[in-house]
Structures are given as C-alpha cells and as structure tokens.
C-alpha cells in the first residue's frame, strides 16, 4: 500500500554518489511540471545542495494538450559544490507524454536516465507529437536507462480513497513523478509533503491526493527497484550562513523593499502587467505593510507616468516592464531625465523584437537601454548577473537614482528573473543606508529657490517636494536655464545643460566599484560578460582550466558608466571574447568606446548558452 513511505532503506538499491546531476521535468503545460521542478529544487536546497534552475514554458497559457507547443519544462542542476548554471544536458529526463519526449530527448545525455509515463503513449498522443512508431517499442530509447511507469494508472489507484474525483484525479500525477525522482536521487520527502499541506490547506482532499501520489511514486521506486542504481548527491560545502532559494524577480522586488527601508522613502511601483516582469508587481503588491504602493496602470506609459509623479512627490519611484513596454515608456523616461527626478526603470528582457519570444531569455535590449531615447539623454544602466544579484542591484539602482537625481535603468532578463539559486542571506543591519535629504530651505538670493542649483560633488539638483513651504517651483520638459530652472531657449544654455547632464551621469563612474578580474593572472584571453551569462562564463572558464589552459573573466554589472579601470583591463589582454545572448551589442559598445577589437560569441535561440558552447569558443581562440 502507498499510505506510508516504505521503511526500506532506498539505498538497498545500489547507490552511486555523484557530484552533480541535471534533471529536467517535461510534460504538458497542464501536467504541473513547474510545480514538480520547483518542489524537487526546494527539497534539494533544504538538503544543502548547491543548485541552479531554468524553467521553460510556452507563451500560451494552455496550448492544445499533448502537442509540441504545449510542452513545459523545468531544469535543475544540483551539486555538492558551487555550480554556476542549470547545466547543459540533462542526466535525467522525466517525460510525461510523447510530445515532451519528442521535444526534449535530443538534449538528454547519452546513457542518461529517462523516466516515462507510459500511459500517455497511446496512438492519439503519439500522432499529436509526430511519432510514426511508438518510441517505447521501436528500440529508439535503447541508448538510455529507461524507466517506463504507468503513472496515470498508478496515480488513480493511489488517490482513490482521498476524495478527489473526475479530472482532479490525474492532477496529482506530477507528485507521483516527483516521488519517484525523490527516491531515485535520495531527496528528503518531508519538505514536499509539508509544502503540499500548506499550499492546499483549504482543500484537504487535494493535500491527501498529492501526498498519496507522492508516496506512491517514492514507494514504487523502492518496491519495484525501478532502476538498478540510484543516485546520491551530497550536500555542498557552501559558505556558512543562512540560505534561501531565490529567483531573480523575487530578489529584485525584495531589493526594492530593502532600498525603501535604507532610504527611508516609501516605495511606489507604477507598472502594467507584462511577461516576464509581472511577478515583481505580484510580489510587491503583497507587502503593503512595508508602505509599498503598487499602481497597476492602464498602460505602460501611465505606469511610468505615475512613477514620475510619485518621484516628484518624494517617493522611491519605480516602474518595470519588458522590452515592448520600455519602448512605450521611452518618452516619459526622457522627461524624468530632463526634470532630473530619481526613477528606477526595470527591464526584464525577453526575446524580441515586438512580442518576440515573451517567455524566453535574451540580452537584446542593451543598446536600447543605452541609446533608446530621443535627444541627448545618457542614463545610468546597470544589470543583475544572477538571481540573487538582483537584490543587490535593485538597492544599487536606488542609490544611484537618489544620489544623482536621475532615472536609472536596471536590466534583468528572463533567465535571471525565473531562474533560481541558493542565496546566502545578508545581515540586513549591514546594508548601507542610502542618504536622502529633501531641500527644506531657499538656496538662492532673497529667499528664492533655485531648483537647478547643483550639488558640487554629485551635480545633483535639489529635491524639493510639494508641501515644503517657500520652495514652490515648476519643472518640466522644456529646456531649463542653469541654476534658476526657468524655461530657456538660449543656445549657449542648451549646450551647457546638455553637457552638464551628460557629465553628471559620466561622473557616477567615480562612485562605483572597480571591475574585478577573476581567474589566471597570466591569461592571454579575457572573457567579458554582462547580465545572465555570468554563471555560464565562469563555468566555461573552469572547464578551460581543467583542459589545462589559462583564461580570465570579468563581468560588468555597470554598463553606463562603465568602471574606470575597464580600458586598462581590456588593453592588458591579447584576446577578448564577449558572449552575449544578442547579436553583439556590448561588443559594439566596447569597440566604439575603447577602439579595441573584440570577438563575440552570440546566440538568440531563446535559451541561455550551454557551458560547452562558450568553453569551445574560448579554447578555439586560445589555439
């Protein structure tokens, strides 16, 4: 019976200890693969493995069941050391139907483990997936360790006494698969059971069904000895401290809340729902007890408009979107630049142009962020490198915006936003406060207020918020006379103000960390990256070193202005490689700014680089 987890030691089946494993759950969008993957991940996190995840789902909420476009997957790499990516090729693939197998099998490592829901391999589903022959019968899976399990049948049997009925019965089959994987990889079972109990607390029958299916899957592994061998991945030796498993959107939202605390300013988020940025809105809207005000506007323009109003009124003002939405906000961002108001603009990049690949990662908005505005309007642009880095960069965006009275563009992408990793929680008391001082007194002759009289260090103009007596003033999109802020069409003044605004932003280079180089000191080749390629580049560099070659890496978190020491670093290498998920955007900037030739490795295939792709390119350049 599947009531309890069998007491037999799962390791009664021979166990192989691995240092890392890549598991991919694949099924129909309705099969609950994202849930299965994230539960497997959380159990592994609590067990102490290092990990990285890569969810992949269709843009359609429910593409037709059983079809290739409807396949949703979740990949996780777990390891006993500090891994950097979700892995190139799965060692284990769970395929809940023929379409999932068709779409994912080519990625599975030769000799890898294949867990298949054999009940789904009927003629109808096989045809939908484009199979002429049943792959379970034609020998095409011989190169893999294949475990065929009639999951529909076994799930039905397992949940029959739990009170669920009808279509709900088969909803638990993801938990069956999860249970089987928990056995196969020696995962702790309690976290998943506890999660189900909490998540479905309002529907006890759903808890019962999911737990029953989970246990049935686990016990199926033990009792049938589903494979000749099971795998164990020991906990990683991570830096001491308290960890949580975090994705980039959540980290970014928490970073904004932290910045609100650190600056003492209430947080305002004006936005319009868009994939893959919406989860930032969802997360922030839950935390009103931090004084967070979220505004779901009528469109992208109103999203940034409300944020500009909130900035004028004295809030930590933020707007967020993805590429198409940022395009709509462009005119308003220039207004914020002209009025010199602090504003954070988040762009969670996705495949473009236009609607493009809304659920896939791409880094193709870099040039758009740097240059995509009318007029001379340089803005600070910074980018998160990993999910947890989004927390830090959100605070950094706020610091720059508030210190320099400027909009700041904070780049994330779908890989950072939805990927996850263990995050060593910072001591919140050690986070550095962000100093903000509103203007309170007249700063001009005869008690007048001069809204464009600048701070001598930062060149920031004073922030006098409505409600402050004696500092009534008007700002706007028309060119301002230096110091007084009055409207001015004077030619020399426009030159002065254009230069001043550019200088103010360029000067931020003196207030950001120097770029650090990682790796071999005597390497001849530098791999320079930015954004979500961080883990892949570091992992590739490791492999290059294992291959006996030398390589250095550096990762830009500040894209404008860039760190002061970048030019010097670039000039000290014979060769420079820039991997980007675009057609060569940072590459263009580096060539233009430094007159240095660099080589690109570029990909716009709706997925991150494989470590092997970058490794091979580095090795090719070394030879």
């Amino acid at each position: 019976m599947a009531d309890e987890i069998a007491t037999a030691d799962p390791s009664s089946t021979p166990t192989e200890v691995l240092d890392k494993v890549v598991v991919r759950f694949a099924g129909d969008s309705g099969d609950g693969m994202q849930v299965a993957g994230s539960r497997f991940t959380d159990a592994s996190a609590l067990f102490g493995n290092d990990l990285a995840t890569l969810p992949s789902f269709p843009a359609e909420i429910r593409a037709p069941a059983g079809t290739l476009p409807g396949v949703s997957s979740f990949q996780v790499q777990i390891a006993d050391f500090d891994i950097l990516t979700a892995g190139d090729a799965p060692d284990c693939l769970v395929a809940m139907n023929p379409a999932a197998l068709m779409k994912n099998l080519e990625d599975l490592r030769q000799g890898g483990t294949l867990v298949i829901n054999s009940d789904a391999f009927d003629e109808r589903n096989l045809t939908k997936a484009g199979y002429v022959e049943n792959p379970l019968e034609d020998g095409s899976l011989d190169g893999y360790r294949t475990i065929k399990v009639p999951m529909d049948t076994l799930t039905k049997e397992a949940v029959k006494d739990t009170g669920v009925s009808g279509r709900s019965v088969l909803r638990s089959k993801n938990f069956f698969a999860l249970g089987l994987l928990a056995w196969l990889f020696h995962r702790p079972t309690q976290p998943t059971i506890e999660w189900a109990e909490k998540k479905f607390a309002k529907s006890p029958e759903v808890v019962a069904a999911n737990v029953a299916a989970f246990k049935a899957g686990y016990n199926f592994g033990i009792t049938t000895e589903a494979t000749k061998i099971t795998f164990e991945i020991k906990p990683a030796v991570l830096r001491p401290g308290t960890y949580t498993n975090i994705n980039g959107n959540t980290a970014l939202a928490w970073g904004l809340i932290a910045a609100s605390k650190l600056s003492g300013l209430p947080l305002f988020y004006g936005t319009y729902p868009i994939t893959p940025a919406s989860d930032i809105l969802h997360e922030l809207s839950r935390h009103k007890n931090f004084g967070v005000r979220t505004f779901q506007a009528e469109d992208e323009i109103a999203g940034v408009g409300t944020a500009i109003g909130a900035a004028f009124a004295g809030n930590l003002a933020v707007t967020g979107s993805s590429g198409p939405g940022i395009a709509l906000k462009s005119e308003a961002i220039s207004l914020a630049f002209m009025t010199e108001l602090p504003l954070i603009v988040i762009n969670v990049q996705r495949g473009g142009p236009s609607t493009g690949l809304p659920t896939k990662p791409e880094q193709s908005d870099l040039l758009f962020s740097l240059y995509g505005r009318h007029g001379e309007s340089p803005l600070p642009v910074i980018a998160a490198s990993t999910p947890s880095d989004a927390f830090e960069m959100a605070i950094e965006a706020a610091r720059i915006a508030l210190t320099y009275m400027t909009p700041v563009i904070l780049l994330s992408d779908n890989y950072v936003a939805n990927g996850s990793e263990p995050w060593l929680l910072p001591d919140v008391n050690s986070l550095k406060p962000i100093e903000v001082s509103f203007a309170e007194h007249p700063n001009g002759p005869d008690g007048s207020f001069l809204p464009y009289m600048r701070n001598v260090d930062t060149f920031a103009r004073p922030w006098a918020i409505p409600g402050t007596p004696g500092l009534e003033h008007r700002i706007g999109g028309l060119e301002k006379e230096a110091i007084s802020g009055n409207v001015s069409y004077e030619p020399n003044n426009h030159q002065l103000m254009t230069d001043t605004r550019a200088w103010k932003v360029a000067n931020i280079a003196n207030d950001i960390p120097q770029l650090e180089v990682n790796g071999d000191e005597d390497a001849k080749i530098l791999v320079l990256g930015w954004g979500s390629t961080f883990g892949t580049i570091r992992a590739a560099a490791r492999r290059v070193r294992i291959a006996g070659e030398k390589v250095a890496t550096a990762h830009l978190r500040y894209l404008n202005p860039m760190p002061n020491n970048l030019g010097e670093i670039l000039r000290s290498y014979d060769k420079i490689l820039i991997p980007e998920l675009n057609t060569g955007q940072l590459l263009k900037v580096i060539r233009a700014e430094f007159l240095i030739d660099v080589t690109g490795i570029n990909k716009v295939a709706g997925e991150p680089f494989k470590v092997s792709e970058v490794t091979e390119k580095i090795l090719e350049m070394i030879k």
Binding site: F47, G48, V237, P240, T242, I246, H287, G305, F312, G477
Partner: protein
C-alpha cells in the same frame, strides 16, 4: 494654524505669460489665481500638472508646485502625486487635444478610478500650439490646415465622455465668465475624487468666436442653460425649459408644459443617465448648451483606498521587517566550518 492671507499676486510667478494677446487662457488663469488666493490654503500644498499644448503652459504661471510634462500624460503623472500624497491638492491642466486625443486613455482611467484630481480641460476645439489643425472636439466639416476640405472626424462631447467613464464630478464652464468659473472650481475643490471641468476657451487666433453662442451678449440670453442643483432647468429668460421624454432631455417652451414636468436638476443623482441626457443637449455649443455641474456624487477615492490598504496591512502584520521577509520562503543553515542542517 493660521490661514495665510493671500492675494491673487501671491499665485503669480515672475515668468512672462506667453499666450497670444486676447487668448481665453488669460481669463482662466486669473480666475484660478483669484480662486486659490481666496481658499487661504498654504500655497505649497497645491500641485499643478499639465501635458503639452497652449493651456499646458499654465503651471509656469501659477506660483505653486508644478510640472509641465508630456503630451497627454498629465493625468497619469498627477495620479502618482495624488496616490502617494493625499495631503496635497492636485490639479491637472489639459486641452482638447492633450486630454481627448493623445491622452484619452489616461483621462478615462483616471476618472474611473476616482483619483483625487481636479482636471481642467480647456476646450477650444482646435490645435493651437501646432498652429491650427482640427482637434477631437472640432465640428465635422471644419476646414483647417490639416482638413482643407473639411474635417470628417466625428467629435467627442467631453462631458458625455467623462460621464461614460464613471466620473464622479463633471462640470462645464466658460472662460469669459469668471465668477461662474470660480464657483465651479470651488465645487470641484470640495469634491472628494476626480473632477472633470470642461472650460470652453476661445482661441482668438485659430478658432475665434467658437463659443459665441454662449458668450455673445445677444446669443447667450437664448442659448446658455444654467444648471443649478435643486432648481427646475429653465433658460432664455424663463421662456424655455428642459423636460425628459423617452429617456431624452428635450427643450420645450415653458408655457407648453405643466411646471411639474420641468426637470429639476439633481447633480447628486447616483445614476448618470439624466446627466448624460443633459450633456446630449449640445454637441459643441451651436445652440442651447448647459453650463454648470452635471454630476457630483460621492464614491471612494482611489488614493484613499490605496492608503487604507497600506494602513490595514500594517495594522494586521505590523511594520514590515526586512530580515523576516528575506527568510520567508524557507531557509537552511550551513554551519561553521562545514556541514549542514535543514531548518
């Protein structure tokens, strides 16, 4: 707290007013400055946000906080101010092109939300700053620079539009009548929530005398219908009256109907149907046209509700604790020097 004693000049700035001589905007500016001075509320508590267009230069000439923003977006920007700062009195200055063309979406959504903003829509039925193209309130057939053979665009009726967009306060006034303008400003100021005031404003350069039917000495006697709360709607010296027939507002000779049949104006009527019917009496002031407050009803304001939710969350959960937040999704601890344990 003492109320400041202001005069109109306290609300004037040192900036040279650059509207064309004879523009209706001067009169509206004077009405506003006088109205603000009379309120006795501290000057720093007012914020004027405008879009783009002739009227949108207005904030530069009012000595309060202000922003001359971008075309059509003033309601959005002002919503950000009002939502986060309920302590302020926030005004939007816009025109027929700014509010109804490029900014139409923001206008209707702001009204629907009932954000505490007072929106002054200067309607001159023409694009002035771009030198004379037809606007979304220009009449069909209007020959302009961009419609030399006559405009084929059917115009909006701003009052009808606002009522359809769930506005809680909708009024109409005219630039020349300063005391009427000020009485409407006062009512809008006292209203909690969004207020849309359409102000007929003469553009003497590109669309002169567009409103002559209700501003001309001769014409206005016959055409101006003053809506007064609680009073029967009569005009033309009492000769004409408004009655409701088959759901429509109709103009009749007063002596042709029983006095009890004359519509008594009730701006607080929860259902907007009759206010809408009144707005349909004219579509551009080419005949009898109602002025005054069409609708003035109480509805929760967006900004107040936002802040109620914040206060309720703090009440229930206490002030947010960052350390608790970042540990809220399950944590595990790696002990010194190595090893682990789940928590």
């Amino acid at each position: 707290m003492t109320t400041p004693a202001y005069t109109r000049s306290d609300f004037q700035t040192d900036q040279e007013v650059r509207w064309c001589p004879g523009c209706g905007d001067y009169t509206i500016l004077a009405s506003m400055q006088q109205f603000l001075a009379g309120l006795g509320r501290p000057r720093e508590e007012f914020v004027f946000i405008s879009g783009i267009g002739c009227s949108s230069r207005f904030p530069y000439y009012v000595n309060t906080y202000g922003m001359h923003s971008i075309h059509g977006r003033a309601p959005a920007i002002a919503s950000g101010v009002a939502t986060t700062r309920p302590d302020l009195s926030v005004w939007v200055i816009t025109g027929d092109g700014d509010a109804l063309s490029i900014g139409g979406n923001h206008l209707i959504h702001t009204l629907r939300r009932n954000v505490n903003l007072k929106i002054l829509l200067f309607n001159n039925q023409i694009y002035g700053l771009t030198k004379g193209q037809y606007s979304p309130t220009s009449e069909v057939g209007k020959a302009t620079k961009s419609s030399p053979f006559g405009s084929i665009d059917y115009p909006f009726n701003p009052v009808s539009l606002a009522l359809g967009a769930e506005a809680s306060f909708v009024a109409r006034t005219v630039d020349m009548d300063r005391s009427h303008t000020q009485s409407i400003l006062q009512a809008a100021y006292e209203h909690e929530g969004s207020a849309l005031i359409e102000i007929y404003q003469n553009c003497n350069v590109f669309n002169d005398k567009a409103f002559i039917q209700i501003t001309g000495k001769e014409e206005r006697v016959h055409n101006r219908i003053d809506l007064e709360h609680g009073k029967p709607i009569v005009f033309d010296g009492g000769a004409k009256a408004i009655v409701m027939r088959n759901g429509e507002a109709k103009i009749v000779d007063s002596n042709s109907v029983d006095p009890s049949a004359i519509l008594v104006h009730d701006e607080t009527r929860p259902d907007p149907s009759i206010a809408f019917a009144l707005s349909r009496l004219s579509h551009g002031p080419y005949g009898p046209t109602p002025l005054g407050i069409f609708r003035n009803v109480k509805r929760p304001t967006y900004d107040a509700e936002v802040n109620v939710q914040v206060a309720a969350a703090r009440e229930k959960l206490g002030e947010g604790d960052l350390a608790k937040l970042i540990a809220s999704r399950g944590t595990w601890t790696v002990a010194e020097p190595s090893g682990n344990g789940a928590s």
